[in-house]
């Protein structure tokens, strides 16, 4: 099932606000073996919010998560995420191409805090594996 090519340029609604608790950061740090004694979250923590935006996108497009493999991820941080932040992500579809029965979906997401200030912008390439 090829993904609809008219998606390019589409901006999806912002995710519901995500409150970053110290407990959640601690859990993420422990899961990745990163020492944590309070303060800023590990660098890849914003994926927690970006992933929610991706899930919303996949649900809206009726794409099964198990057919998705991650192709590329980049983060540009305006500042570190810290406990107490309330974050939401806005995903837009930047590009779409088909190669060998797979859809290569380029997305960008802006992660903003409760004041609307940019915390992190992130881009991801998602490989949607076609049904053989």
């Amino acid at each position: 099932m090829p993904v609809d090519s008219s998606l390019v340029g589409r901006v999806f609604p912002a995710t519901t606000p995500y409150a970053v608790s110290e407990e959640k950061v601690r859990e993420f740090a422990a899961a990745t073996g990163t020492p944590y004694a309070g303060g800023p979250a590990p660098a890849t923590f914003p994926i927690v919010v970006a992933f929610r935006a991706m899930n919303d996108f996949l649900a809206a497009e009726q794409v099964d998560l198990f057919r998705i493999v991650h192709g590329e991820q980049k983060f540009a941080y305006a500042r570190p995420v810290v406990p107490g932040d309330v974050l939401s992500a806005t995903l837009s579809v930047a590009s779409l191409r088909q190669i060998g029965g797979n859809d290569i979906i380029g997305t960008t997401s802006e992660i903003r805090d409760a004041a609307g200030d940019l915390v992190c912008s992130t881009s991801a390439t998602l490989v949607h594996r076609g049904e053989a």
């Binding site: 422990a30 899961a31 590990p42 994926i47 998560l65 590329e72 540009a76 390439t125």
Partner: protein, 133 residues
């Protein structure tokens, strides 16, 4: 951070990855894609077996960067996921190795080129981190 001079090689870090780590990461990140825990689903979509979340491997790369830089603020981090890290269903798992080289130190920013391998094969493409020096 005086050791972070252009050209410096950073001590490679090795991290074992087991199925249990993937389960823990799924819970912490919210990424419950079954290709990271079900052999049945992974095989059905043509993967060689259960694979680590790309973001888990990237998190290990970031962990190495944090170790080398004493937790310096990261301003840029990125990579491609070029080869999957296949994680066996045993107690030992598989080892991911993160090596790094300081590419440049300019304007208070340290650029670190990474090499992330598993069983001798590169698993991330062009992994790079920029931190505040």
């Amino acid at each position: 951070m005086s050791a972070l001079e252009a050209g410096a090689s950073l001590a490679p870090q090795e991290y074992a990855v087991t199925r249990a780590d993937l389960v823990r990461y799924a819970g912490a990140s919210g990424d419950f894609n079954p290709i990271h825990w079900s052999d049945r689903v992974a095989s059905a979509v043509g993967l060689p077996g259960v694979i680590a979340h790309g973001m888990f491997t990237m998190a290990l790369a970031a962990r190495a960067v944090a170790a080398w830089t004493d937790g310096a603020e990261v301003v840029d981090l990125g990579c491609k996921f070029t080869n999957p890290v296949v994680v066996p269903d045993d107690d030992g798992g598989v080892v991911v190795r993160v090596a790094g080289t300081v590419k440049s130190v300019e304007d208070g920013l340290v650029t670190i080129g990474l090499e992330v391998t598993c069983q001798g094969q590169k698993v991330l493409g062009m992994p790079k981190a920029v931190v505040r020096g």
